[in-house]
């Protein structure tokens, strides 16, 4: 059963921590500064503006960056251009509607949009269902911890760098798994993905959420 709450308190509780607007900042010595080539952290600010204010210009920026990528992702997965266009618009509309569920301590904006695009692809191309895990009984923390969010965004960038360094055949196999049709047996041959660190961060974020709720 869904429960609805008034928009007021939620909007209020989604106040953006100021540091998230400066994700490429250097307040901490250990902070890795992106050279701008993979600015995944930057989109967090737009997502939070969208979640908090329904900010149309923030959404336009997200649309400009992600809609053409979602469309490309769907076409690589076998959609025609017109189906991919249609679905990419759907995906971006879902981004708008579900913005309040985005949690920067658990996912980059690209990761979060990937999950929406993947689900849309399964509906549209495989005409199949993919049951989702039970929602955690709470949304993102009202005041996402700035450091947690920053570190997670950096870990995602580092993951991207590590994936770029994989041998070509390994990288192709991974792309085939996510874009194409690789059976579970073939996927079992993909090993050595450097996921230990990012997993630990997400695990920590989940633990914190559970603690906040008890």
């Amino acid at each position: 059963m869904l429960q609805f709450v008034r928009a007021g308190p939620i909007t209020e509780s989604l106040r953006i921590p100021p540091a998230l607007g400066r994700l490429a900042g250097t307040e901490e010595g250990s902070v890795h500064v992106s050279d701008g080539s993979a600015p995944q952290g930057e989109w967090v600010e737009q997502m939070l503006r969208l979640a908090r204010h329904g900010d149309e210009s923030a959404f336009a920026e997200l649309f400009g960056h992600f809609a053409p990528r979602v469309k490309a992702f769907l076409m690589k997965s076998g959609a025609t251009a017109s189906l991919a266009e249609e679905c990419a618009q759907d995906v971006m509309a879902t981004v708008w509607h579900k913005a309040a569920l985005f949690d920067p301590a658990r996912a980059s904006v690209a990761t979060w949009i990937f999950t929406i695009a993947r689900n849309r692809r399964i509906d549209a191309l495989r005409k199949s269902r993919r049951p989702e895990p039970e929602d955690l009984p709470w949304g993102p923390e009202p005041e996402p911890d700035q450091v947690d969010a920053l570190v997670l965004q950096q870990e995602t960038e580092k993951l991207g760098e590590a994936l770029a360094l994989l041998p070509d055949n390994q990288r192709e196999l991974i792309e085939k798994a996510y874009f194409g049709d690789l059976s579970h047996g073939e996927i079992a041959k993909i090993t050595g993905l450097p996921l230990g660190t990012i997993k630990s961060r997400i695990r920590l974020a989940l633990e914190k959420l559970r603690q906040t709720m008890t």
């Binding site: 990937f114 269902r129 049951p131 039970e134 991207g160 996510y178």
Partner: protein, 214 residues
């Protein structure tokens, strides 16, 4: 304390949207109970995020943004959703959706020896069923042509591999011949997903197989 987890291959295939529905149901149900696997799953989602970020942009239709905004605004304003409180039964949300309720809503059919089963409606690439095994009772020993996932929801069973209790998932491949026995005490309730018919070692279950769809 969950001791038996999902494999990387299953988590990656689920993240990439490549699993048959019955397997997705088993994965989603385990992840609902296991934060460790939820964190691992979300790190595989991060791989998808990196691949989406790296997609070469495909141009959107000229009026695409306007069309998406029209789509967003024409829809009824969506109330902000708060995830429902965790249910009290033994089935996590994804499984409850397929059963139409908790344990009391299952429509069991006897399969002999006090064992009961209920096939769940999924696409035909694989089969999902609930098993009810009275305490102390054995499931006929069997091998597998494909993969069998068995997730314990209540009680516990033992086989040649180990003991499996609530939340534990056993991943059985073609090599494994096993005879799961429910522990004495409360009945053992499991969710089992198979992608090929089981191979029973004795004649009677083998003859019943086509009738039972197992």
């Amino acid at each position: 304390m969950i001791r038996h987890h999902l494999s990387d291959a299953l988590l990656m295939a689920y993240s990439a949207g490549q699993l048959p529905e019955a397997f997705s149901l088993a994965v989603a149900t385990h992840v609902s109970l296991c934060d460790e696997c939820r964190a691992r799953l979300e790190s595989f989602d991060a791989v998808g995020g990196v691949l989406l970020e790296d997609c070469a942009e495909t141009g959107m239709a000229e009026d695409s943004f306007a069309a998406t905004m029209a789509r967003i605004k024409s829809g009824a304003p969506q109330p902000r959703m708060v995830p429902p409180a965790p249910a009290r039964g033994i089935f996590p949300a994804p499984l409850r959706d397929y059963v139409g309720g908790d344990l009391e809503a299952v429509r069991w059919r006897p399969v002999g020896g006090g064992v009961r089963q209920a096939i769940l409606p999924t696409d035909r690439a694989a089969t999902a069923r609930l098993l009810y095994i009275p305490g102390g009772v054995a499931v006929p020993d069997h091998g597998h042509r494909g993969t069998e996932l068995t997730l314990v929801l209540q009680g516990a069973f033992r086989d040649e591999v180990d003991r499996f209790a609530r939340g534990d998932i056993e991943i059985a491949t073609e090599e494994l011949e096993h005879t799961p026995v429910a522990e004495a005490g409360e009945p053992c309730i499991c969710l089992a997903a198979t992608d090929a018919p089981l191979r029973f070692n004795s004649l009677v279950p083998r003859m019943l197989q086509p009738l039972l769809r197992i």
